[in-house]
Symmetry: C2
Subunit: 516 residues, 2 copies
């Protein structure tokens, strides 16, 4: 008993938490209680005998129709109304016919029920009929009920009319309570969901870029990510919720279109569809973030040194990209138009800068060891050109000394304090660092000349090693180019937003904001 008490306590606490985190749920539950009470009261007052007899329909209707959001309530009520009416009409016609058949009446009714059951169920399974599923159920139920109970009491019309009246009563009470007291709108939920997704993707993007630059690595990739289940990894949950919200959005959309204009959405035919479209465009961007995250999850990783070279640019692209997403999310939330078309300017600039940097330093993204062509000059320089090359590089440094990354590369080499005098080309070879093990490094240094002379007598193990290096360097290239592709996809997102803001007549941005 004590355990039971404990459990009850736990549940109460959890319930309290739930109520605090989403007070709408408490309100909704109270509304439900109120509606039921009202219907019961009406029945207790009992104006005629019939009301009491068919009371169950009113209660049933309230219980069934009372959905969380207004849109869902309306759409279910509509389904129920149409289903009941059409079934009532059909059943009455059928009943008339059945009385004409005389002796065969029962057979006629049974066959009629079978045929109706078959047809209605078959139609219900039509893919396009999905939203009316409930209507078909009600149709079947009403039809059978009127046929059966009408046959018994011979009061087809009374049965149908009474039933309909009480359903109308239940629906009226349900709708009235739900609509008039603290209504909960599916459209608002949809709106908030879309805005929330923007924030989630922005967070994920920033997290991915920062994580990548800080060389976050998963000791073991959580199996939840591997099987695409929910997990509380913040990077992952941000974009996952955006990607996963499709079905939720579709459900909310199907309810929202039923809702009358309300609150900030004062407009006939409010373009809820455009919200879903915008969210789809966001998802298209989120897939790139997902691919970026894939680079972090991957086994093959670029060396921290190489990442560091592009660190400033990547950071900037990441934070600018997140800024754009956040700004769009806020605009969606506040229903404001874009203040100007330059929202993408900064992020495009950042991306261009990154691209230029890549352009200048793409040698860091590949591993030249096995080049069939590019190898040659290095060989030549090794033989006769090292000093010249070195000098050349120094000259370069003096003209380009503002570039902090060159210095970075230098300092890395110094910090490693190799006793081998590394030629300028170490840029190519520093992928060895990606391996991390000093033995591998040493081995590499030793076997170096061997490879110079002939490719044929390589140790296969060695080749594998450098293949890995090459892959690891390429992974950086992949990350950057995915990042740039992400920026490219932002344009599409902004277009979708502008379409929405036009259609939904978002308000113009406040003047102060433009000045800022």
């Amino acid at each position: 008993i004590r355990e039971l008490w404990k459990k009850a306590q736990d549940m109460a606490v959890a319930g309290w938490e739930l109520g605090r985190s989403d007070p709408r749920k408490v309100v909704f539950a109270a509304k439900m209680g109120l509606a039921l009470t009202l219907v019961s009261l009406l029945i207790f007052l009992e104006p005629t005998k019939d009301v009491g007899r068919y009371a169950v329909w009113a209660i049933l209707t309230v219980v069934v129709v009372f959905e969380f959001s207004i849109g869902a309530t309306l759409s279910k009520g509509m389904n129920r109304g149409i289903g009941t009416l059409s079934a009532g009409g059909l059943a009455l016609g059928f009943a008339e016919l059945s009385t004409l058949t005389g002796e065969w009446e029962e057979v006629f009714i049974i066959i009629g029920i079978f045929i109706m059951g078959f047809v209605a169920t078959f139609l219900r399974l039509y893919p396009t009929m999905k939203p009316y599923d409930y209507g078909f159920r009600v149709f079947l139920l009403t039809f059978c009920f009127i046929m059966v109970s009408g046959y018994r009491t011979r009061e087809f019309v009374t049965t149908a009319v009474n039933r309909f009246l009480l359903i109308a009563l239940g629906a009226g009470v349900g709708l009235g309570v739900n609509l008039c007291i603290y209504p909960i709108w599916a459209g608002e939920d949809l709106h908030n969901l879309v805005a929330k997704n923007f924030m989630g993707v922005a967070k994920s993007l920033e997290g991915c870029v920062n994580g990548y630059l800080q060389c976050v690595e998963y000791e073991r990739v959580p199996s939840k990510i591997l099987t695409y289940q929910a997990s509380d990894d913040p990077l992952y949950s941000g974009y996952r919720s955006a990607v996963e919200s499709t079905s939720q959005e579709d459900a909310l959309l199907s309810f929202a279109i039923w809702e009358p204009p309300h609150g900030p959405y004062r407009m006939l035919k409010y373009p809820w569809k455009s919200y879903v479209k915008l969210s789809g465009a966001l998802r298209h961007c989120a897939f790139m973030v997902m691919a970026l995250h894939g680079c972090i999850l991957s086994e093959i990783q670029a060396s921290p040194e190489r990442r560091h070279v592009f660190s400033n640019e990547m950071q900037r692209v990441g934070s600018e990209g997140a800024k754009v997403l956040r700004e769009l999310g806020n605009k969606v939330k506040t229903l404001t138009k874009l203040s100007s078309s330059t929202i993408l300017f900064e992020v495009h600039q950042a991306a261009e800068e990154l691209q230029r940097k890549i352009d200048r330093r793409s040698y860091l993204l590949v591993n030249s060891q096995h080049w069939e062509i590019g190898k040659r000059p290095e060989g030549i320089e090794h033989l006769n050109g090292v000093n010249i090359m070195d000098g050349g590089d120094n000259k370069r440094l003096s003209t380009k000394s503002l570039s902090e990354t060159v210095i970075d590369l230098r300092s890395i080499q110094l910090s490693k304090s190799w006793d081998v005098r590394t030629p300028v080309y170490t840029g190519f070879d520093s992928s060895a660092l990606a391996i991390g093990s000093p033995e591998a490094l040493l081995k590499k240094q030793i076997s170096w000349p061997a490879r110079q002379i002939s490719i044929l007598d390589e140790v296969p193990d060695e080749e594998e090693l450098s293949t890995y290096e090459s892959a690891s360097a390429l992974s950086l290239a992949t990350f950057t180019s995915l990042l740039i592709e992400f920026v490219a996809r932002l344009q599409n997102l902004v277009d979708a937003f502008e379409e929405l803001s036009e259609k939904a007549k978002f308000k113009e941005p406040a003047q102060e904001l433009t000045v800022e």
Copy 2:
């Protein structure tokens, strides 16, 4: 009227098509009709008067409980049963109490209804209570109904018992018909869905790789893809359906766990969860295919010539990867264990080969024009080493003449028949081809020496151009490295499959298959 007739004809045709494509739907509709007929018959036979009076409950139960799959039927029936029973018990207790209150009886009942409505609805909104949503509704309905109608007739117990008996009758007929005649299993659907997803991803993968190598480009990316809506692009729909099936799988899973052992799934507690997990792992792979598709969708495209260099290797990885997926899909379909652990051998080999090729030719993946380091030697060679370099390359050719790709590169240069004698380094510059416009090419050739001399007086437009080139070359790198990452993720997929095949006790592969 004629139009109506036409429409009816169209619908009949569509219905016929639907019936032919999925005969289960026809069978199900017929079953539904049968069940309704049976219940009506039972009521017509009318053994006692009470049966007729509460007939509606039996019909209602059949209509509501009769779901498409056995699992859904069972889970709904269970919900309904438990909801009715507990509500009945509570209502009876409540009724006893209410008679004790004497004059305040009505108030007591009303308050009771309000409290119950509140509590049950609040519990229903608990996230963990989602599967029991229907049970709570039934609970509420039954409770209110018994209270109200019991108050009127003073027959609380009779009402409750009758209601329960008729619900049991309805449930019995519904379950009997649904289970005994051509049962439709949710588990089977889940099983087929997972197997189908494998095929879809395999098709997409092959399509992506082939499309990429054939340089398929979208004139205008369909806006449906940009907003992630369903589209009939075969590449896209393959992985999209795999990615989108999450909610469908979850629904099927929640039904499948209710189903008794049946057919090939003869086992208590059949591990349906592992199917969903396997599907999650497949989704993890599908995201890579999605990213590959993203490379095709991207504006920035690598030149066909460069792609061609890696064509054989990529093709092989693609087709081997698809083969693995298909094989796994078939194994899932036939419930067979893997014949050996070498299923990944070929695709790994293919990926390694691709990786080695990249390693040897990664100069094709970058654009050396702006290199701060690598540029230098080229400049030197231009001044004094062209002939030597050229000779060197020829020598290289003679030792490596087996490599078809070198020949490829040559033939491209020949076919373009430039009148400028291109040095060996054209490998680097062929990215210019990616632009496609001859003007751009020409401009480049002209401005070439200018850049050699000084970086400072570059035309910015020019720089942008080459930045674009560099990006276009990197896009190939991205594609290949995503492809390799895809192969890496296959391991995880195979692991998930093996876990499933262990847990679900798949049959050992037939001996002949192993010999093959």
